[in-house]
Amino acid sequence: MHIKVKYFGQIAEVTKKEEESLEFSGQLISELLETLHSKYQILKITDFKVAQNQELVSFETKLTGQDIALLPPFAGG
C-alpha cells in the first residue's frame, strides 16, 4: 500500500521533513508506527497523536487511509 505520512511541529523537526511517501504492507496504525520508529528512533519517546484521513485514531485502528499525519500536542490559541 502506498501511504503518505505528514509530520507537523516538533515531529517535523525530528523527522526533518514535512511529509513522505511510503510503501507499506501492514494492517494497523501501530505497525506503521513501528516502521517509523525504526526510521526515526526519537519518535519512540515523543508524544504525538495520529490522524487518518484527518480524524484522530487510536494506534490499534486498521490502516485504511492513504493520508496519515503525526500530530504533536496542540497549541492553538
Binding site: 507537523f8 490522524a51 500536542p73 496542540f74 497549541a75 492553538g76 490559541g77
Partner: protein, 147 residues
C-alpha cells in the same frame, strides 16, 4: 449568518486591534443582538530558564484544522442560540503582546454568549491541530503545549 461558513479561519501573522474593532463595527447593523462576547488569545512573554519568549510561530494541519473549525461552528450553533459566530487564528509569527486567536459570539441574550464562548475556546484549544513554536530572544525555541 448561520448558514455561512467562515470565509477563512487562519490569518497570516497577528490579528490586529483594527481588525477586531472593524469586526465589532460590522455587527452594529444586526439589531437583534443584545450581547457580544469576545475572547482574545495574546502571546505572553513568558520567562523560561531565564530566557524570554519573543514570539510564537504557528503552523497547522490546515485541512484538518479547517474541518475542525467547521465542526465547532456547527456544534456551537446547535447547542446555543447564537446570532453570529466568528473565529480567526493566526499562522506564522506572532510577537509577544500580539493577538493570535479571536473568537466572537453574539446573541440576543447575555447568558448564551458566556456559555458559548467558553465552550468554543475550550474545544479549539483541545481539538484543533495547531502547533506553536515559542521563540526565545536568543533564537532558541521550545514547543508550546496547551494546558
Amino acid at each position: 449568518m448561520k448558514d455561512k461558513k467562515p470565509k477563512s479561519v487562519f490569518k497570516e501573522g497577528a490579528i490586529t486591534s483594527d481588525f477586531i474593532g472593524n469586526s465589532i463595527y460590522k455587527h452594529q447593523t444586526k439589531t437583534s443582538i443584545g450581547a457580544h462576547n469576545i475572547f482574545l488569545g495574546q502571546v505572553r512573554a513568558d520567562v523560561i530558564d531565564n530566557k524570554t519568549v519573543t514570539a510564537i510561530e504557528y503552523t497547522a494541519y490546515e485541512d484538518m484544522a479547517n474541518q475542525k473549525f467547521h465542526d465547532i461552528r456547527e456544534s456551537a450553533f446547535d447547542k446555543f442560540d447564537l446570532t453570529c459566530m466568528h473565529i480567526y487564528h493566526s499562522l506564522g509569527t506572532v510577537k509577544a503582546g500580539e493577538i493570535c486567536l479571536f473568537v466572537f459570539v453574539s446573541s440576543p441574550r447575555r447568558k448564551v454568549v458566556f456559555e458559548a464562548l467558553e465552550y468554543i475556546v475550550e474545544v479549539i484549544k483541545g481539538d484543533v491541530p495547531v502547533f506553536g513554536k515559542e521563540i526565545f530572544e536568543d533564537e532558541t525555541h521550545q514547543w508550546k503545549v496547551n494546558s
